[in-house]
Every structure is written in structure tokens, then in C-alpha cells.
């Protein structure tokens, strides 16, 4: 039974692709027609309501660090899809694809993520 449930959850996760679920507030401010890729080090995963936020430190070519804020779904829905607070561990390197802010600011809506070991989360085709 437990195995069946796990399989069902995995199938659900695969079908949903851990898609963005920013349902509480408007996603206005993010350009859903564009996808930007950032690579950096995870500072914090705020697995909290109403939306989760992944904080990522990104270094530019001059060595300047910028903190990016990546908005994702509610921990409730993400948790039901298998995501956990440990999914984005602080200190880990990660590449994240996001719908960027319309004004170019350091934030965006989560699309997908890829870790150095090849593991992907969300949409990453």
C-alpha cells in the first residue's frame, strides 16, 4: 500500500512536472513568455506559505555577488508532490530556469532546476 502510494505520488509529480503553482497571488511582474537561466549557490530555501522562495547567490564575471529570489508554489502543494525543505540545500550549486521580472530585477518565477549531478526538478527538457 505504501509502495502504491509512493508510486502514485511519483506519477503525480511526473505529470505535474512540479509546475509553478503560484495560486495565491498574481504572478504579475514576471514575464511568463521568457525563460532566464541563472547558476549559483543556494543560500536558503524558504519552504513557507503562501509561496516558497529559493534564494540563490549568483556571481557575475567581476566577482560581484547578487542574491536572486525565485518564487515557487505553496509548500503544501509542493510537499504533496514530493518536494521537501531539503530539496534545495544551502551551499549546493544549482542552475535554475525562471520567468524573469519584467524590470530585469533579481527575481523570477520558478520553471525548473538542475543540480551538478544531473538531477532535475520541475520543467527541464
Amino acid at each position: 500500500m505504501r509502495t502504491t502510494f509512493k508510486v502514485a505520488m511519483l506519477i503525480t509529480l511526473a505529470v505535474l512536472g512540479a509546475a509553478p503553482a503560484r495560486a495565491h497571488h498574481s504572478a504579475a511582474g514576471f514575464d511568463n513568455t521568457k525563460v532566464k537561466e541563472i547558476t549559483g549557490t543556494i543560500k536558503e530555501f524558504q519552504f513557507k506559505n503562501p509561496h516558497s522562495w529559493i534564494q540563490v547567490m549568483v556571481e557575475d564575471e567581476k566577482g560581484q555577488q547578487t542574491e536572486w529570489s525565485v518564487e515557487w508554489g505553496s509548500p503544501n502543494n509542493l510537499g504533496r508532490q514530493g518536494i521537501r525543505p531539503s530539496t534545495f540545500p544551502p551551499g549546493a550549486k544549482v542552475t535554475i530556469r525562471l520567468n524573469p521580472m519584467e524590470n530585469g530585477g533579481p527575481a523570477g518565477g520558478f520553471v525548473g532546476a538542475k543540480f551538478p549531478d544531473g538531477k532535475t526538478i520541475g520543467r527541464w527538457e
Binding site: 495560486a23 495565491h24 498574481s26
Partner: protein, 263 residues
């Protein structure tokens, strides 16, 4: 003889008491488990049937507003397109209200008892109480976000009316994020039933003599989630980085330090 008469009186009394009860628990349908709404969180039929998304222009089938409220709605749509129409629940302080309660993301639970039905929404959270114990609406009921709901069972269908809704009077209740609103004279008749073991249907007929020219039917469906699905806290204020700017009505995006990123 006297014993027979007493037994007869007793039998009649028991029968009358049973008949007077709103419903017997064993006759009520099984709506247990965890459910989620099917489709997007909008009331417009066009967007529910896949003709377009909530922000797709040209596909909306507007509710039957009169000219005055159609103009109000147009204003709201225009503000929405400019990110200036705030979602009233974005500041984490008020209930979603009715009928928006049947238009929320996240999970639902339906608790059925002979005397009452509860609808629990994870998002919010919100509670809808439908009294089925035979009580009427209060004649002098004041308006609230969720209103007053009383109903009855017609076989496996829960039928109830919801009155005393405050609507958009204080500008803190909307039906969906496109800016659909109703007046404080709106009332709704709802029929809920299970279509199959995994599908619950909610058919609402919304009437509002102030804003609508005719009754507006809206149907929502809910899909049962896998056995073992859990429901969680929804602490809206826990980490709300999308508050509404009180002056401009703009939904903000805050950085980790609270600075506004979408100036």
C-alpha cells in the same frame, strides 16, 4: 388493551421523531477524503472549458452584468492588466468569502453530518457551514464574507441557499482575480452531488438584483485525491512576499530584506 394503546402511542411518537429528523447518517452520501478543484481559479465558463486562460483576451463569457456593473468589471479588468487590481486575500487578513470559497486552489474536505455540512478549504483556510437541521435563514441576518447557508438533502444531493453576503460593498470580497464582484444583495442556490466516486459537482445559481440581469449558473467540479493525501496549515502571513501596496493597489514582489523588487 391499555398496553396495546401505549405501544401504539409509543410507535407513533418514534415514527414522528424519525420523520422529523433532517436525515439519517446512514442515508447520507460519502464525501470523505481530500479533494481539489478541477480547472483554473476563475468563474468564467470559457476559461473552464479550455477555450483560453484567464488572461487570454477575447474568450471570456462575461457574467450577465447590467451596464453599470459591466462598466465596473471593465475597470477591474483594465486594472488587472496593469497589476493594479489587488487580490483581496493577498494581505492575508480576510476570508475568501462565498461563492469564491468554491474557487480556490489547494485541497478541500467535505464533512457530512445529518445536522450540518462543513466545507473546509486548505487555502485560507476557510470554512463554509451549511445548516441542514431545518433552521431557516435569519430575517435580520447581517452580511458577512461567507454569508448564511441553510439547506436540505434531496436524495444524494445537498441543496442550499446562501444569503447575507457582503459582496464588494467594502471592496474586500471578489469572486476571482479577474475582478468579478457582486453586490451585497447577491444570493446563491447551490446543488452539490457526487457524479462518480471521484468527482463531486457543485452547481451554483447566482442571483443579484443589483448587478445581474438574469440568474448566472456556474458549475465547479472537484476531484478526489489519492488515499493518504495530507492537508496542511496555510499560514498566509508566514512569509507573504507579495503584499498589496495600499496606495497604488499594486501587488508587490519583495526581496529577502523586504525591499520592493518590482518598483
Amino acid at each position: 388493551m391499555r398496553r396495546t394503546a401505549a405501544a401504539l402511542v409509543w410507535a407513533v411518537a418514534i415514527t414522528a421523531w424519525l420523520a422529523a429528523r433532517p436525515a439519517l447518517a446512514q442515508q447520507l452520501p460519502d464525501w470523505s477524503g481530500v479533494w481539489t478543484m478541477v480547472g483554473p481559479t476563475v468563474f468564467d465558463t470559457a476559461t473552464q472549458t479550455g477555450k483560453g486562460a484567464v488572461t487570454t483576451p477575447g474568450v471570456r463569457e462575461h457574467p450577465p452584468y447590467n451596464a453599470e456593473w459591466e462598466a465596473i468589471y471593465r475597470t477591474h479588468l483594465d486594472l488587472r492588466d496593469k497589476n493594479r487590481f489587488p487580490d483581496t486575500i493577498s494581505n492575508c487578513g480576510v476570508p475568501a468569502g462565498f461563492p469564491r470559497l468554491f474557487n480556490l486552489p489547494d485541497t478541500y474536505e467535505f464533512i457530512v453530518r445529518p445536522e450540518q455540512v462543513w466545507v473546509l478549504t486548505e487555502n485560507g483556510p476557510n470554512i463554509l457551514r451549511v445548516y441542514t437541521d431545518g433552521r431557516p435563514h435569519l430575517a435580520d441576518q447581517w452580511e458577512t464574507y461567507t454569508g448564511d447557508s441553510v439547506g436540505r438533502w434531496e436524495g444524494d444531493t445537498l441543496v442550499f441557499t446562501t444569503r447575507a453576503l457582503k459582496g464588494f460593498r467594502d471592496k474586500d470580497v471578489i469572486l476571482d482575480r479577474t475582478g468579478l464582484v457582486l453586490s451585497d444583495k447577491a444570493h446563491v442556490t447551490t446543488r452539490m452531488r457526487k457524479l462518480d466516486p471521484a468527482t463531486l459537482e457543485v452547481r451554483m445559481t447566482i442571483e443579484d438584483p443589483v448587478s445581474l440581469t438574469r440568474p448566472w449558473p456556474v458549475t465547479k467540479q472537484f476531484r478526489k485525491q489519492p488515499l493518504g493525501t495530507r492537508v496542511y496549515d496555510y499560514g498566509c502571513a508566514e512569509n507573504n512576499r507579495n503584499p498589496v501596496d495600499a496606495t497604488s493597489g499594486k501587488t508587490l514582489i519583495l526581496g529577502p530584506d523586504g525591499a520592493v523588487l518590482n518598483k
